[in-house]
């Protein structure tokens, strides 16, 4: 096809356009990676809960910070919801001391061993009901705090400090924008309320497993799906709409820039297009050549950008203060396809120009 031949003969020109496509694709990929990363940071632990729905106090407005459930209510939610399994979970943000002495905050989640709230341990061991002074720390926490399994972490509790030994590592990600640390529910009560006991709230939320639980409610409680719960994490919806706006602009600008580049090329070739049409080529034939070029060049550009983004992500994960960027095969695939699609849409500018060229310009035309 002459469109492809032209690319071969004008390597420099098309390589420059491919470079622009690469840079734009790289940018859009990184933004998308940031979107995924921020989402993970917001609540990948919530997403990996072994539950179908989450029950809150009906006065909490679906806020895990404000939700407090009594032991009696935890019981009642388990039976009233008709779930097949349920487990109370407590949440509190607390400060801890990093290995270098600086103070940082983490999400401390209190659970009962043996329930569906128990995280999957990937290193070390899980907690038993005797482990009041032990925790399971997420890998992101260990990396960030520069600690390892077996170390002791100092957590600031109200006006005093408390030592916890890290007995196991988990891979649940973060909760509420902070790395997650799991501990016994009684220890959580002590962290949050100063003491454990029946007169203190027993949990922040209840994890529920079973069919058709989302939307259920009862006296003092309401249950929503994990998706709804995630969207109601403070800051998530604003963060998501910001990232989405960036993505939309990225795709639009990508399509526009590629479209304009090829439009300029098409304008420069008006004379040649006139000749092609004069010798009988249809506008469609000429446009097909342009479209093949746009698809070819944008595919090359995207194909270079994907490994670049992947390498950048790997490099960024190694720095001490990791940028919240995460890629999935899905991110790469959909982003790449959308970028190429946008490029094809951008080619429509050229299509209009091709259709407008009057083949009569081939006559009397001096080169």
């Amino acid at each position: 096809m002459i469109g492809l031949l032209e690319i071969r003969r004008r390597k420099l020109q098309f390589a420059l356009i491919a470079l622009i496509v690469t840079l734009i694709s790289y940018l859009v990929l990184m933004i998308n990676g940031l979107g995924v990363g921020l989402n993970e940071q917001a609540g990948s632990a919530l997403k990996s809960f072994d539950a179908n729905a989450i029950a809150y106090s009906d006065r909490a407005g679906l806020s895990v910070i404000r939700s407090e459930l009594s032991a009696e209510l935890v019981q009642r939610i388990g039976t009233e919801s008709g779930s097949t399994a349920s487990a109370p979970l407590g949440y509190v943000a607390a400060n801890y001391e990093k290995a270098d002495g600086s103070i940082k905050s983490a999400a401390f989640l209190g659970f009962d061993p043996g329930t569906i709230a128990e995280p999957k341990v990937v290193e070390g061991r899980t907690l038993t009901s005797e482990d009041g002074d032990a925790v399971l720390a997420d890998r992101s926490f260990l990396r960030y705090a520069d600690l390892k399994v077996g170390d002791t972490v100092t957590v600031s509790v109200r006006l005093s400090e408390r030592q916890f030994r890290i007995v196991g590592a988990i891979d649940e990600g973060s909760f509420f924008f902070q790395p997650s640390v799991y501990l016994l529910r009684s220890s959580w009560q002590e962290l949050k309320y100063g003491e454990s006991g029946a007169d203190q709230p027993a949990a922040s939320v209840v994890l529920l497993k079973g069919p058709r639980l989302a939307g259920k409610s009862g006296q003092g409680w309401e249950a929503v799906s994990k998706t709804t719960a995630f969207a109601n994490i403070e800051g998530v919806s604003g963060q998501q709409s910001t990232v989405q706006a960036l993505q939309v602009f990225g795709y639009l600008i990508g399509g526009l820039v590629i479209g304009v580049f090829f439009y300029v090329l098409t304008l420069q070739k008006t004379g040649q297009i006139g000749v092609l049409k004069a010798v009988g080529a249809s506008s469609f034939f000429v446009f097909r050549q342009v479209l093949i070029q746009v698809l070819g060049i944008s595919t090359i550009g995207v194909a270079i950008a994907v490994p670049l983004a992947w390498l950048t992500n790997n490099a960024l994960q190694r720095v001490p203060n990791p940028v919240p960027i995460a890629f999935t095969a899905n991110t790469f695939l959909t982003t790449s396809l959308l970028l190429v699609l946008m490029a094809a849409v951008g080619a429509a500018f050229s299509g209009r120009q091709v259709a407008k060229v009057d083949p009569i310009i081939a006559l009397g035309q001096q080169q």
């Binding site: 096809m1 002459i2 031949l5 032209e6 003969r9 004008r10 004379g271 040649q272 000749v275 092609l276 049409k277 004069a278 010798v279 009988g280 080529a281 249809s282 034939f285 083949p359 009569i360 081939a362 006559l363 009397g364 035309q365 001096q366 080169q367």
Partner: protein, 233 residues
Amino acid sequence: MTVKLEVRDLSKTYGEGERAVHAVKHVSFKTDPGQFVAVVGPSGSGKTTLLAMIGGLLTPTTGSIVVNGRDIAGLSRGEQAAYRRETIGYVFQANNLLPFLTARENLLVMAQITGANRKAARERAGQLLDELGLQERANAVSTELSGGERQRVAIARALMNDPGLVLVDEPTASLDSARGRQVVESLIREVKTRGKLGLMVTHDMAMAALADRILSMHDGLMTEIAKSETVPA
């Protein structure tokens, strides 16, 4: 394939009212199959407008152009493109080859446009390049070719799809007279040996004299010049 061409009372007017320009006025002529016809005239005489109408690039204001019994004056743009593709071979003033393609590829483009068989197209391109003495230059990019070579490639391109009617627009405009004459001679030879109808627009009487027949345009009107009136070149 040969073509019978009959032009009847053909006119082209640009603009309207007092500003109207009558580029071609009531032109009629008939050709015999296998003829090579030259249309001469100064610039602005309407000869290129006439060529454009016969070649399906311009729609006449009035009159008809009957090609093999079919009036092509009222074709839509899409039909005009198909007509150009199937019936017309064009040689343009400045050859207008695609600059990034080789001589051979410029011919093969024609087969792509019609969707012709690739193998047959390669054979035909090779044969045409041989006939026009371009076998050595077949794989040279067209910007590396000399003006005369380019114009010969343009002739080969015009013949690529085996058109019945070859239309030629000032083929020697960018060539010196010796090369111009060689090009026109090989053009006439190629067109006539294939029994095609050739129509060449030129302002150069010496080139026109090489044709079978000379039509003269002046202010949009056509007259025939008897061959004996021309000075043998």
